[in-house]
């Protein structure tokens, strides 16, 4: 009989139960009557005949029960009865039920929370059609990701075109960029705001398969002509245009220029996908970047749609081959490779190792919770020996008893699962509030069917796996012993006790692992946040500006604006110093090649390069960077005077070791001898004199050793006097209190320029450690939960042991043992469990060092101090948990407990 047929029969049995029972009653009656008639025919009186017939048929109640069993009723009825009974018996011991449910709910809740994070980061499908064939193409240099402005960047447009032309795996590829621009609407009285604008060719919408909800996307002709047309996001349409269709006759102003709105893009670009929220799209053909001399200009965001049936691995293999050919053909591409990632995989990104760690930790929590549950059940079952024995004596089979006990566990776990779901919802909501701004991936954190299914499966399997063993041992009943008057209730035996000890040891081991991991992460994040950036990090406020070229034509106008603004900011009371700069620590995404005259360069790989920045003359003073040699920029450095440059210690170490760099000249830009074409974004390619050496400050990103750095004055380098500038202010007062004054001075100069991304450097650092902090907070909570559960476990076991041994301890006391002896006797038991657990836990922590090493910063995963501290903390807590029952043991009432015997 297959499963389906059986299910149908069971259903049939359930639905037609009454009918079947009536039918059988009738059958029995008719046959009984026949038997009686036959007996009567043999000459018995009617009464005697009916009696004889009933004798022949035996216990009809029993028969009908067996018949019902044949139809499968009993099993179904039994199930319902088991659950009803379970509910009643749990209600009768609310203490046990509460502890068990809370314990499990904690474990299940933690797992559900982490699963919903994994769900949001990995499992939920992307909002695009056929998301599995969408990939990002990143560019690598010598195997490492090259970084564009913020995120890993893609290949140059020239390379992308060569990839697309030669590839059989890629259907369509598109490179685009997202910029911060000053955007204003006809209706907005507050002036322009800085917003994310995507500069995209029309293929962008084809690759992502985005259909505008209103209007149309750009044409190729518009893109090539650079027409002033724009698409806006649905949320802009709603906030600024009241969702009216006549939005298509309106314009928006981007950087002081009018763009006709031609369409509305649905709200589907997830926040994690781009460095910033995109609210408008304008056509961009990147004509300059398509010239052969821009082959080295990488860092664009690149998306591709794979051909149907092609896996990212196949695309990776193919593109790597093409990249190798390009590298051989073009010197600028030497050492440059590609990485093809599923777009969906870029969502978890750097969080992946963290997720593994978190998933591992919550599994430990669940294991601990389940061990505790198993322990509680073992204790409860052995305390219920007599009840179980009575039920067995009355004819309940072992299977019946086990299924009864399992029903109880199942009921517990279902309630705990529901509670855990609620716990995880609150927890997740709190976490999103704490870290949400920094982790846009978690914006879509929600309880969907996957999370519900997960919770259900975890709850039920936890109860079945961990409920079965206690149920099996609990029902091994020696009837005679258990029912004997005065039989020890805990006589379920040594075997049972050993299981309980093992469970406690495991709990302690696992919570020590959690404790050590949390400790290491805490230290790591402290080091990361507390690391010396090479600057005076406190009281620094920064804001971003875009100085529109339409209004400020030419570098001189930009210089004038920046100098004016810098001067007026420095005049604000409470401002110690201020600088206008295109970069700020801890990260400078701009790299630049240079050459030291007189030093021949053998190959392209040997071209010196450094992080590059432009600023005014107040950079070093404002950031509090130590000046190690030479002088700072000063007012004598004018656009017409000799070009000057500041370098950092790392540059001196790498390129001027043993020499005094001050006074030396460097040529900034691709060395003329290397035949590298300069592209637009590079520099004036001029010779400049090093006038000073700064101390190293972080410029490669948080937690990374500083790279060589070059700093020049924007006033002397018109070609790199970019429209993007930050104002950075060192304040004497609370930094944010100066924001209104900063805005006021800015709008006095130009009311149309917004001040965006205002934050202190402290906040910038905090933001960049967001995912680490997220993990650390969670792991800290998990460790706390784990230790709490383990303490409950050890307390439970020792209390139980003390209760069992009350009489023995009383005898010992009576025979002259001192209270200290007794105390020690009990303490020793708890301590030995804790010690064994700690040893195993340390070994476990040691075993996970590799996983940990990937997420730790400047701390060894085997940091001895953390290991020792974790062990000590756990031992002390375990000792405290044991001390409570131990004191109880000492206070034992001699006479009372001896008389009990």
């Amino acid at each position: 009989m297959n499963a389906w047929a059986r299910l149908r029969l069971n259903l049939d049995a359930l639905l037609h139960r009454r009918k079947r029972e009536d039918d059988f009653a009738r059958e029995l009656a008719s046959d009984l009557a026949l038997e009686a008639e036959e007996q009567e025919a043999r000459g018995l009186s009617p009464e005697e005949a009916s009696y004889a017939a009933r004798c022949a048929f035996g216990n009809t109640a029993l028969v009908s029960m067996d018949v019902r069993d044949a139809w499968g009723f009993v099993r179904i009825e039994g199930l319902g009865r088991d659950f009803r009974y379970a509910a009643r018996s749990l209600r009768k011991s609310p203490g046990f039920a509460t502890v068990a449910i809370l314990t499990l709910a904690l474990g299940i809740g933690a797992n559900t929370a982490i699963f919903s994070v994994i769900n949001a980061l990995i499992l939920q499908p992307l909002p695009f059609s056929d998301p599995q064939s969408l990939v990002r193409i990143y560019s690598t240099q010598n195997g490492e990701f090259i970084t564009g402005y913020g995120n890993p960047g893609g290949p140059s447009l020239v390379d992308v075109k060569d990839f697309a032309d030669a590839s059989h795996t890629i259907q369509q590829a598109v490179a685009y960029d997202t910029w911060r621009k000053n955007v204003s609407y006809a209706d907005s009285p507050s002036g322009p705001q800085e917003m994310g604008v995507a500069l995209v060719p029309p293929e962008y919408f084809e690759v992502l398969r985005i259909q505008p909800i209103l209007g149309r996307v750009f044409t190729t002709a518009e893109t090539l002509a650079g027409d002033h047309v724009a698409l806006i996001s649905a949320s802009v349409w709603k906030t600024h245009f009241g969702e009216t269709p006549d939005v298509l006759s309106h314009t928006i102003r981007i950087n002081e220029e009018s763009f006709a709105i031609i369409g509305v893009v649905p709200e589907m670009i997830p926040l994690w996908m781009e460095p910033r929220r995109i609210d408008a799209w304008t056509p961009e053909a990147f004509l300059d970047s398509r010239q052969e001399n821009a082959r080295g200009s990488r860092g664009f965001a690149t998306l591709a749609r794979l051909r149907p049936g092609v896996s990212p691995d196949q695309a990776q293999t193919e593109l790597s081959g093409i990249a190798a050919r390009l590298a051989a053909a073009h010197p600028i591409d030497a050492g440059v490779g590609v990485a093809v990632w599923r777009l969906a995989d870029s969502r978890a990104g750097s969080m992946r190792p963290m997720l593994a760690l978190l998933a591992g930790s919550v599994s430990l929590i669940l294991l601990i919770a389940c061990s505790n549950l198993a322990n509680l059940l073992l204790a409860r079952n052995s305390a219920r020996q007599r009840e179980l024995a009575v039920r067995a004596a009355l004819g309940s089979g072992r299977r019946g008893l086990v299924s009864q006990l399992l029903a109880e566990t199942l009921l517990l776990s279902v309630v705990a699962g529901a509670l855990g779901l609620a716990v995880s919802r609150t927890g997740v909501a709190a976490l999103t509030r704490i870290t949400g701004a920094q982790m846009p991936q978690l914006a879509s954190l929600e309880i969907d069917w996957r999370v519900l299914l997960f919770t259900f499966v975890v709850s039920v399997s936890a109860s079945l796996i961990f409920g079965l063993a206690p149920a099996l041992t609990g029902t091994q009943i020696n009837l005679v012993d258990a029912l004997k008057e005065g039989g020890r209730t805990g006589s379920a035996g040594r075997h049972c006790q050993r299981t309980r000890n093992l469970l406690v040891v495991a709990e302690i081991a696992m919570s020590l692992m959690l404790l050590v991991t949390a400790g290491l992460l805490l230290k790591s994040i402290n080091r990361m946040q507390g690391q010396y950036l090479g600057i005076r990090q406190d009281h620094l406020l920064k804001g971003h500006m875009y100085i529109p070229p339409v209004q400020y034509k030419g570098p001189d106008a930009v210089t004038r604006f920046c100098d004016d603004y810098g001067r007026s900011v420095r005049a604000i009371p409470g401002v110690v110093d201020a600088t206008i700069s295109a970069i700020f620590p801890p990260r400078d995404g701009w790299t630049q090649m240079f050459e030291i005259p007189g030093r021949p360069i053998a190959s392209l790989q040997d071209v010196p390069s450094a992080r590059f920045g432009v600023s005014d003359s107040h950079f070093v003073k404002t950031f509090g960077i130590p000046l190690l040699r030479g002088r700072d920029f000063n007012d004598s450095d004018t656009p017409t005077s000799r070009r000057v440059v500041l370098v950092n210690q790392a540059l001196v170490r790498r390129y001027f070791s043993g020499e005094d760099p001050v006074g030396r000249e460097i040529f900034i830009g691709p060395p003329p001898s290397s035949n590298i074409p300069t592209d637009d974004n590079v520099t004036d390619a001029v010779t400049a004199t090093i006038v000073g050496v700064m101390g190293d400050f972080q410029n490669a990103g948080l937690g990374l050793p500083p790279d060589p750095q070059i700093l020049v004055l924007y006033s002397q380098n018109p070609l790199v006097n970019v429209a993007f500038k930050d104002v950075i202010v060192r304040t004497a007062t609370e930094p944010h209190s100066l924001v209104p004054a900063l805005l006021d001075r800015l709008h006095q100069l130009d009311p149309e320029i917004p001040l965006a991304e205002v934050a202190t450097i402290d906040e910038v650092v905090e933001q960049q450690t967001g995912s680490q902090r997220f993990t650390t907070i969670l792991l800290g909570l998990f460790a706390l939960a784990g230790v709490t559960l383990a303490v409950i476990g050890i307390y439970g076991v020792i209390s139980y042991l003390v209760a069992l041994r009350t009489q023995e301890l009383a005898v010992r006391l009576a025979l002259g043992a001192s209270r200290n002896n007794i105390m020690w006797l009990v303490l020793r038991q708890g301590l030995s469990l804790a010690l064994v657990g700690c040893v195993i836990g340390l070994a476990g922590a040691f075993a996970t060092r590799q996983l940990l090493a990937s997420v730790l910063f400047q701390i060894s995963p085997l940091d001895p101090a953390t290991y020792v501290a974790g062990t000590l903390v756990l031992l002390v807590i375990a000792l405290a948990a044991t001390a409570i029952p131990a004191t109880r043991a000492v206070r034992v009432d001699l006479l009372h407990s001896l008389r009990q015997e």
Binding site: E27, S30, D66, D69, G72, G395
Partner: protein, 123 residues
């Protein structure tokens, strides 16, 4: 509380159960019969050696009905003016009977070889 059916049954009834099914199926090969007739037939044909308990018969009948070996219908008996529940064999039941019969034969032969070793060697 009566002993529950889910209790592990003693091995003796296991054997009986197997044979009971076969005996009932074999009886129904003659044509439809109701429970009482089946019990009587087995008792009489075996010359009162095999007594079929009603307590085993009815559960067995219902189990076999559930398995689809037999079907049941209320019909008026020829000799009595009353309806009885008549069971009849289905094709699946016939197949089951053949299967159990051959198994039973094997068992008897195997037992015979052990109990009376010389029996087979006789000419």
């Amino acid at each position: 509380m009566p002993p529950k059916a889910s209790q592990p049954a003693p091995s003796r009834s296991e054997l009986l159960q197997g044979t009971l099914d076969m005996l009932v199926l074999r009886t129904l090969l003659f044509g439809p019969a109701h429970g009482h007739q089946i019990a009587k037939h087995i008792k009489q044909t075996s010359e009162e050696v095999l007594q079929v308990e009603h307590g085993s018969l009815y559960p067995a009948l219902h189990r076999m009905e559930r398995k689809g070996w037999i079907t049941a219908r209320w019909e008026t008996a020829k000799d009595r003016n009353r309806e009885f529940k008549f069971y009849r064999l289905t094709p699946a039941g016939k197949k089951q009977l053949a299967h159990e019969e051959s198994r039973w034969k094997q068992t008897i032969q195997a037992m015979a070889r052990i109990m009376w070793p010389a029996w087979e060697q006789k000419p």
